[in-house]
Amino acid sequence: MRVIFEEIIKDIRILLAYPIEIAFWIISPLLWAVPLVFQGKALVGSLQSTPFGSLAGTSEYIPYVLIGAIFSTYMFTAVWSMGNALRNEMFYGTLEHILCSPVRPLYILIGKGLYNSMFSTMFVIVQLTICVLFFGLDLTVTKILPMVFFLALLMIGLYGVGFIAAALTLLIKEAHGILHMFEYILFLFTPIRYPVEVHPITRAVSALIPLTYALIALRGILLGIKFDFLKTSLLLLGIDIVIIPLGLYIFGWVEKRTKQRGTLAHY
C-alpha cells in the first residue's frame, strides 16, 4: 500500500511542476470536439440530425460528441500513463533498482492507475462544469451517483488494459508503436466521436471494449438517452472480470519471460 501511495505522490509532484500540462489536459479534449461541431453544422445545417438520432438515441450531436471527448480522457491517459510507466523506469535506469526491491512492478502500475484515475476525474469535473455553464448540459445531483458507479466500472477495466499495455511495452521495446495501436483501436472502435452502430465492424469490435458501455451509460444518464442500466452494468462488469485477471496474467507472464531472457531492464 505504501508503495502505491508513494507512486501516486511522486506523480502528483511531477504533474504539479508543470501547470501548463494541467491546463492542457483540461482544455484539449473540449477543443478536439470543436471541429466535429462545425462539421455537423456544415453537413446538416442545424444542431440536430434525424439519421444521427436513429443511431445514437439522440438527434443532438453536440452534447453527444462533447461527452465522448470528455470521458475518453480516462482511456487515453490510462493507456499512455500505465503503458509507459515501466518503459520510463527502463529509460531512467531505475527499473533494476525497483526489481531488486521487495516490490513487484505491478504495484507501480497500480499506483500509476490510481493517480491517473484521480487526475482524470479532476479534469472531467472541470470539463463537465464548463459544459454545464456554456453548453447547457443538464447535470443534477441525482445523476452523480449512477455516473460514479459506471466510472468506477470503467476505471477497473482500464487497469486491465493498462496492465496489458505495460506488459507489451516490456516485451517489445518499441513502446510507442504499441501504445499508438491501443489508441487507434480505442479511437476507431468506441463511440467517442460517432455512434458505433454506423458500421457493422465498428459495432462488433466495440462490444469488447469497456469504454463503449461506459459511454452508453454516461450519455444515457446525462442526456436522457434510453439504455438498459442492468444489462450495461453487467456487460461492463463482465468485461472487467475477464480483463483484470487477463491483464495480470499477461503482465506476470511477460515479467517472467523477460527475466528469463535477461531483457527486463534493457531499454
Binding site: 492542457f24 477543443l31 478536439w32 471541429p35 456544415a42 445514437a56 487507434y184 476507431l188
Partner: protein
C-alpha cells in the same frame, strides 16, 4: 563557392537519408505511420455518415458546391498531414538529437544552421509526401472518389507554397525545443488550434467571424480551399490569384519569423549553455 553549395546540398540530403535509415530500424513504428492517417480520418467520415445517413449532403452542396462529404473531408485531411509534420516531426527532430546526444556534434559541423533546418524540412516533405500518396491511392479507390485533373499544376504550386509556409512554423517550433523542455505543449496547442480554425471538414462559412479572421492568417486555409476548388470544384470566396498572393505573403512572414526564432533560440541556448541538454 560552388563546392560550398554542393557541400550544403549534400548535407541536406544526408540528413534526409539518415532519418530514413533510423526510421526504418523501427519497422513497426515506420508502418504504423502509414496507418495513422486513416485512423484519424475515418472518425470524421463515419461521423459524417452518421449525421447524414449516407455520403451526400444537400447543405454542404449549398454552401460549397460539393455534395460528396467524403471527398470534401478527405482533401482537407490530406493537407493537414503537413500541419502535423510541421508541428510535430520538425519540432521533435532537434529534441531527438538532444536525446541521442548527437546535437553538439551536429552543431559543431561546418554548416550553417539553415542547412540543418533545410535537411529536416526536406526529410519531412519526403516522408509526408509518401504517406500522402499512399493515403490518396487507398482512399480514392476505396471510396471511388473522382477528381478533376485539370488543375494539377496550380494545385502543386499551392501545395508547395503552403508547405513552405508551414515549415516556417516547423522551424519556429524546432527553435523552441532548444530552450523549452515542454515544447510539446506548444506544439499540441498550435496544431489543435490550427485543426479547429482550418476548414478541413467544413467551409469557412460555418465558422464564427472571429475564428474566420484567424483562419485567414494560416497557409493551411488557403491550401485546403485552393486544392478543393481545383480538384472538386468547391466555390471560392477569393480568386485563385488572391489565394496565391496571400500564400506568398504568409510564406514570407512565417518563414522569416520561424528562422528568426530558431536563430535567436540557438544563440540564446549557446549563451545559456542548454543547447545539448535533453
Amino acid at each position: 563557392m560552388l563546392r560550398r553549395i554542393a557541400h550544403y546540398f549534400r548535407a541536406i540530403n544526408a540528413e534526409n537519408i539518415k532519418e530514413w535509415r533510423i526510421e526504418w530500424k523501427y519497422k513497426p513504428d515506420f508502418f504504423r505511420q502509414f496507418i495513422a492517417p486513416f485512423v484519424y480520418l475515418l472518425p470524421y467520415i463515419l461521423y459524417g455518415i452518421a449525421l447524414l445517413g449516407g455520403r451526400f449532403s444537400e447543405h454542404l452542396q449549398k454552401l460549397t458546391g460539393v455534395s460528396d462529404m467524403i471527398a470534401y473531408i478527405f482533401i482537407g485531411y490530406l493537407i493537414m498531414g503537413f500541419l502535423n509534420t510541421a508541428c510535430w516531426a520538425m519540432g521533435w527532430s532537434l529534441r531527438k538529437e538532444q536525446w541521442y546526444g548527437t546535437l553538439d556534434t551536429i552543431f559543431a559541423a561546418p554548416v550553417p544552421r539553415w542547412v540543418y533546418v533545410a535537411g529536416m524540412a526536406f526529410h519531412s516533405t519526403c516522408h509526408q509526401g509518401l504517406i500522402m500518396v499512399f493515403q490518396a491511392v487507398i482512399i480514392t479507390i476505396f471510396f471511388s472518389i473522382i477528381f478533376s485533373t485539370a488543375g494539377i499544376l496550380p494545385m502543386l504550386l499551392i501545395v508547395v507554397l503552403m508547405v513552405i509556409g508551414l515549415y516556417g512554423l516547423g522551424v519556429l517550433i524546432a527553435g523552441l525545443t532548444i530552450g523549452l523542455k515542454q515544447w510539446w505543449v506548444i506544439s499540441e496547442a498550435l496544431s489543435t488550434l490550427m485543426l479547429v480554425v482550418t476548414p478541413i471538414a467544413y467551409p469557412l462559412a460555418v465558422l464564427p467571424v472571429f475564428i474566420r479572421k484567424i483562419s485567414l492568417l494560416l497557409p493551411t486555409t488557403y491550401g485546403v480551399m485552393g486544392i478543393r476548388h481545383l480538384l472538386l470544384g468547391e466555390h471560392l470566396e477569393y480568386s485563385l490569384g488572391t489565394i496565391f498572393l496571400r500564400l506568398g505573403i504568409i510564406l514570407v512572414v512565417w518563414v522569416t519569423f520561424g528562422l528568426l526564432t530558431f536563430m535567436l533560440m540557438d544563440r540564446y541556448g549557446r549563451r545559456k549553455g542548454f543547447v545539448s541538454l535533453y
